[in-house]
């Protein structure tokens, strides 16, 4: 009971820290919305061959995927490695706060930001580009969102664990996500990407998160829209990330002594 209250205490703190920091709000919340406005406006009426949807319907789930990954993996990898190098994690570790409560607060924070972002992207997509908000596939969206946010949060802790220094954090994180966004069809419509490249992207979780989200928004989806195959791969990546994090995550600075 006390521990649950403590998770709430930690979560509220993380939320406060997030919304007060203009840089973090910009990169995590505003950036994906800018991408949405740019892509959905440029390619609004473009016909995405082979998928039978217009550009706007394509980019809403694509940017939802990007927003979830930004709020979880990217944000956690950058924040945690910088807080570790700054001795902030070490200080928290020296208090009675159980480590799992700290982790739960951070993951909760990322999941909540993800949910807010999905809502914003959906609403903007509906208001400005006429992309209907999912209704019959809403349960599938929630499941996809939770699996995705959990898996990419685990990957965020794993990435923070292997990032050696504060300076390296943005470079390493961006060098991982940006190529994957391009390869996975988040930025470039997938009918423009050679199939060999898509096969490579199929090895990584970004593409599968996008595929699961696309099914949620795809007007051709007739069933629940739940893409269990894609979600299974996302989840496997998450579990792999969790194992790496459990083994390698450190609370103390790595770059000094």
């Amino acid at each position: 009971m006390r521990s649950l209250r403590l998770v709430g205490h930690q979560f509220r703190f993380d939320q406060k820290v997030f919304w007060r920091n203009p840089a973090s709000v910009f990169f995590t919340a505003v950036f994906p919305l800018l991408f949405l406005l740019i892509f959905a406006t440029f390619f609004k009426n473009a016909d995405i061959h082979g998928l039978g949807v217009n550009g706007a319907t394509y980019y809403v789930p694509a940017i939802v995927a990007l927003a979830v990954i930004s709020a979880t993996m990217v944000k956690l990898a950058m924040n945690l490695s910088s807080e570790r190098e700054g001795g902030m994690l070490k200080r928290v570790r020296g208090t009675p706060l159980p480590p799992w409560v700290f982790v739960a607060g951070r993951v909760g924070n990322s999941v909540v930001i993800s949910v807010i972002m999905v809502a914003l992207v959906s609403v903007i997509g509906a208001l400005f580009y006429g992309v209907p908000i999912p209704t019959s596939t809403l349960p599938a969206l929630l499941v996809t969102l939770l699996v995705g946010a959990f898996a990419f949060s685990c990957l965020g802790f794993a990435l923070a664990a292997v990032i050696p220094s504060e300076d390296a954090a943005p470079a390493i994180t961006n060098a991982i996500v940006f190529p994957l966004y391009f390869l996975s069809g988040i930025f470039v419509p997938e009918d423009e990407i050679p199939s060999g490249v898509l096969h490579i992207a199929d090895l990584f979780p970004v593409r599968h998160l996008f595929a699961a989200l696309f099914a949620v928004w795809d007007p051709a989806t007739s069933g629940s829209g739940l893409e269990l195959g894609d979600l299974a791969i996302v989840l496997l990546w998450g579990i792999a990330g969790l194992l790496v994090a459990v083994r390698l995550f450190r609370w103390e600075p790595r770059s000094r002594s």
């Binding site: 403590l6 205490h9 703190f13 406060k16 820290v17 007060r20 920091n21 807080e83 700054g86 001795g87 902030m88 070490k90 200080r91 570790r93 020296g94 208090t95 009675p96 706060l97 159980p98 103390e252 000094r256 002594s257």
Partner: protein
């Protein structure tokens, strides 16, 4: 007799081939301010981090508040406050907000406003920490260590990089902790700081304790010796000095140094000699070594070994 707050016996810590800590024994009693003094790289932080439960040791016995810190649990953490050598703060939050957050981690925290008062941050309580000065941030570090109302406080180089006035203020704050009945373990590389604050001091050099005791007595015989120094007057050579002086002195060029427990006879001899020659004693100084000198000597000897 109650158990000491900290007991260390035969502590060793090796990183691969390198032995950072080479057999340390020390005891800190309840309510004491204990200073752990040494140059950078002497093993201070390693020892403290072992006591704080951050690092495993290679061998030896360590008891802190009746427990082995390497098995530190939540209730042990409730009793121990830490001021780390370097730990940033979230710049967007105010001292009051950060303290309220940390207070929530403890089962019986100290009141947040009272803690702000203890470290004298009342006027900055609602200013974002990014806008605090170095000294004010350090006070917030101390406040964060105090908010859980711990019995034992570790302060790792609390004033490194401070200007003299910020250092004085920090000293007043640390001296005030004694009145709260806290046991304080302080590491520093300033002898002056140890002298101003500590009941007892241990000096560490190259992983060993080279001296320990109260700050007044730590120098022992060394501070009992007075050093006389002067330059040879013009036209005089070392051979001209009165023979008892010549026998004890260290002469380098025209610089003469002489150590004596009682400087009066040597001075009478010297002044008599100089007056007789009509020359005076240029640059004459008579000084008792400060603790700083003693400390530097001890550390140098260990390094030269």
């Amino acid at each position: 007799m109650p158990e000491a707050v900290i007991t260390i016996r035969g502590l060793r810590k090796a990183y691969g081939e390198l032995e950072a800590i080479r057999g340390i024994d020390l005891t800190v009693e309840a309510g004491e301010v204990f200073a752990f003094l040494g140059p950078n790289g002497a093993g201070k932080t390693t020892t403290v981090e072992i006591m704080e439960g951050y690092r495993p040791r290679s061998s030896g016995e360590v008891r802190v508040l009746g427990a082995d810190p390497s098995e530190a649990d939540r209730s042990w953490r409730e009793q121990v406050g830490l001021v780390l050598q370097e730990s940033r703060l979230v710049g967007e939050l105010t001292p009051r907000e950060v303290l309220a957050q940390y207070a929530g981690y403890y089962s019986k925290p100290r009141d947040v406003d009272e803690t702000i008062g203890l470290v004298g941050l009342e006027e900055k309580a609602d200013t974002r920490t990014a806008r605090l000065s170095g000294g004010q941030r350090r006070r917030l570090d101390v406040a964060l260590a105090l908010v859980g109302d711990p019995q034992l406080l570790f302060l790792d180089e609390p004033t490194t990089g401070f200007d003299p006035s910020a250092r004085r203020q920090a000293w007043e704050l640390i001296a005030g902790l004694r009145e709260l009945g806290k046991t304080v373990f302080l590491t520093t590389h300033y002898m002056e700081e140890a002298q101003a604050l500590a009941d007892r001091v241990a000096i560490i050099s190259r992983g060993r304790i080279v001296a320990s005791g109260s700050p007044d007595k730590i120098g022992g015989r060394r501070t009992a010796m007075v050093e006389i120094s002067f330059h040879l007057p013009e036209g005089a050579s070392a051979g001209d000095l009165p023979s008892p002086i010549r026998a004890d002195a260290r002469i380098e060029g025209d610089q003469v140094r002489l150590a004596a427990e009682d400087p009066v006879p040597a001075l009478r001899e010297l002044t008599g000699w100089a007056t007789a020659r009509g020359s005076g004693l240029p640059g004459l100084e008579v000084r008792r070594p400060s603790l700083e000198d003693v400390y530097l000597d001890l550390v140098d000897e260990e390094v030269a070994e």
